[in-house]
Amino acid sequence: MDQFKWIGGYLRRHKGYLALGFACVTAFSIFCMVPPVLARAIVDGVIIGGDRKGLPTLLALIMAVSVTRQAVGFTRGVVFEHISQSVVYRIRMDIYDKLQSLEFAFFDRNRTGDLMARLTGDMEAVRHFVGGVLHSIYERASIFIFATVMVFTVHVPIALCLVGLTPIIAFMTYRFAREVRLTFLAVREQFSRLNSTVQESVSGNKVVKAFAQEGFEIAKHDAENAEYMERNLDTIRVWQRYIPILDIMAGSLTVIVILAGGLFSIYGGLTLGGLIMVNGYLWALNDPMRMAGWLISDTQRFVASCVKIMGLLETDPAIAGPAGGSAPTAPMRGAVEFRGVRFAYGEGAEVLRGIDFKVPAGCKVAVMGATGSGKSTFVSLISRFYDCTAGEVLIDGVDVRDREPVALRESVSTAMQDVFLFSDTIEGNIAYGVPDVPFAEVVAAAKVACAHGFIEAMPEGYDTIIGERGVGLSGGQRQRIALARAVIKAPSILILDDTTSSVDMETEVEVQRNLKSAYGDMTVFIVAHRISSVRDADVIFVLDDGLIAERGTHEELLDAGGLYREIYDQQMVG
């Protein structure tokens, strides 16, 4: 079973604790065997045999066993909790690291709520298995075996009668495990879906309210919620078929003790004390049987979660550093070249159909074009958020695929079109890329982005906590914080993807002036729609239908009288 091999890899790191834990379980099980022995001694020796003097010793032994057993039991509990917490901690970190290493395309494909479920609900199943189920299985099995051995020492025929049921039970649990696993897989799937529905409804709450679609959201949630209940009931339906049978089997052990035990004590030389001792082991024989169903069920729940977790962990990042790790580490200067770059998202139509250009370090490049003409795709290839499907993207003459993505992105800073801010202080958001930067630099970056003024005007200034996605700030304010966040890194290449679309014009002019003076030698790519944003660029690319349709300076393109001229005329009317 792959899942067990996989979890074994994590468990192996805690060999010492595991050994201690299993030793405790073994000791615990052995101690569980003692009370019936003592009971027999008391009944046969003290009560029936009349040896009253032995009683105090035996009673002291009972207490001693209890104390030791509980000490061992406590240690066992804490040790396994520790192991399970450490394993879950490790898996969580591994998933988190894996998620961080996966490319944009992965997040395009997978829903946030779905991925969240890996780190919440599925973790719970793993925790429960390692912390509770694992040692319970071992404990129940060893108690069962010890008790069987003990019963054999008392009276072989009665022991054979009791053990005779075992194969049937083994068969039942095997069938049960197989059936219940399928239902758990379905439960996990539905859990993810439910989580995603809730997550979207929470994240999209503004749209929901704007269109007064609360009723629709409720209906959508009701359906997923009911489906989740239904999937859980499927599991129960399997339980219903097996658990009562296992219960009956466990109960029939008592019947055997009464019947066989009674007959053997009349005819087969079983002493009364012996019968009482066997009776004392009854729970040790039937409790594992009773529990088998539940333990199997929990194990299968764990397996179902593992399937999902392993699926995620086994996803290979499509964008990674070069094999062999010989990535150049020299700092980038910022010359950018595209050679015959083509790009399509997945199986879709080509968005870029052969882009060629070369700009020197320090160049200011503007990119214009119609909605959906591929502007954002174009600039996202520079930071290698996606890999081009054909051609090469080179920075300082080195293919971006030959660098470590992290090292590349240290030097290329992007203010994305779709501003995402974190629920953190404004300072924390601006310093996102350089967490240890001195406060003065945060202020300086905010000033460049013309954000200092409105930040200062807030009651708590830079310590103001902004909500997730930047709630509480206007669109233009969010964009300026995102801009400050991008410039504070002092990158070699700065990419501004429609960063000032919601900023008013006066401020925009000021932002551009600031950018020019503060970061003169950076290579800058500006995606924009307003002529005022692009006119001062060293070169302007106008994208059309996946190709660079026009390139040149503002003046050159105006004279050329093409697309750019058209846009200019439209904007300058009036």
Partner: protein
Amino acid sequence: MARNKYDVDEDLTGRFDRRKLVRMLGYLRPHRRRLALVMAFMLCVSFIGLLGPLLLRHVLDVAIPGRQVGAIVAIALAYLAITVAGGAFARVRLRNMAYIGQDVIRSIRKHIFDHLQTLPFAYYDGRPHGKIIVRVVNYVNSLSDLLSNGILNLINDFLSLVFIVCFMLYVDVTLTLICMAGFPPLVAAVMLVKNMQRKRSQRMSAKLSNLNAYIHESIAGMRVTQSFAREGCNAGIFDGLNLTYRKYWMMFVRGQYVMYPIIDLLSNASVVLVYSFGVWGLDAGAAVGGGITVGVLIAILNYVWRFWQPITNIGNFYNQIINAMAYLERIFETIDEEPAVRDLPGASEMPPIKGEVEFRGVTFGYDADSPLVLEDVRFSVGVGESVALVGPTGAGKTTIISLLCRFYDLTGGSVLIDGVDIRSVRLGSLRRQMGVMLQDTFIFTGTVMDNIRYGRLDATDDEVVAAAKAVKAHGFISRVEDGYETQVNERGSRLSVGQRQLISFARALLADPRILILDEATSSIDTRTELELQEGLASLLKGRTSFIIAHRLSTIKGASRIMFVADRGIVESGSHGELMALRGSYFAMHSAQYGDKKNNG
């Protein structure tokens, strides 16, 4: 606004509140018939189960010494019948209790989710979304076991305890009393552990909530993280949250494991006492004749073990309850959150809107202790007017339109539509007549068709296509392989921001609103598409009132009125020509974009 974030614990509430438990039990009410049935069955079964030791005593005391094979067989058969009946019952119970448990979970989740729908923007703005999501999904799930089996077991355990005591008293009074001596110390121990565990479990769940909030935000913001190469730093933060949670979990669990040893020690102590007194009583009984026999002693000892089993169970249940309380409190806290914006008592339906809008001395601040965003704003807009709101970022343009849709309630003044105060009508009836396109273009998982249709669910496919055509979205949608059936998801991956804006725009238009509100609807759309769009829109908007927020002058100029928003109010208002003639703020803004037009034009 006091916002919560991932490294801030949610407030811990004080005492263990029994009313919350009672309230949870309220969810069981609809199932009381089923519960009663299962309970009745269960009582029979546990009563019969307790006959076991008596049967065994009979075997030991009477049948074996008397060599009565027939009696042994009869008793074995009786026991078998009990076992099979128990198994059959287990099935009934499993089915019913699982159903009840799942159904209660479903209704609690529905309750909390439905309530969330009534909560205003401010609620969602005030805390990380991850913390809201786990309440609805994970916290509710964690109650599952408690509800499906816990409570029933609890009642069963209590009753078994009573039965057992009765049986024990029937067998021998003295030994029973001796056995029960362990009870007072147990209660004392439980109370002690409870107080300790209560705090620990609350702290643990707060840490879990932080961890979840961070998980959610990390995934949602992964693109930014990667583009800033901040993976290392985030892994560090996550590591910290993860370790903290582990620490508090271990602390909690250690407390939990204290319980078992206490119970076990007490139960063994009582066994020892029973033995001592039993043996002593045996001798005394033998002296006077009658009294304690071997059978009595064995039967009592059998009950003593059974006596402690339900107590252990109850102890466990108590632990569970303490743990669940931490979750339950969060759930009820959410359900109890008063919607700040809601229908007032006696609110009527908003009559069909003609489109007259008036702000009367509107004053607004997002929070009591934050500065005012708008102060004494007054204006009125006639039917069919198109109003452009312009001004510096953060001046309050979005706030004005949010107030018009009543996303927030005013601090002072009133907003009237067709002379009706919007607070006096039902929210749904108001918003359904308005089409709002927000700055934040949210795309739901589903097809493009579904997303546009979100504006009006009963729209036909043709109507959806017509809306898409009107906003010039039809072109790019039909170019994609699956057209309107293309799957898109939450953050609208594979759609450019401009395309998402067009889809959101179509959505707003499809709602066939009487008042259309566009908050930077076209900021990421190129000028040519925008112009085409405006031409097509002009006819659609005829007779409808519209509010447009934009920065591009080409977008603004077509408006019949332009309002310049600054300094917590409207500083200039009039047509483009009028405002230009005024040579004020609007003129200055205009010059910024066209400043050197003359040199190049």
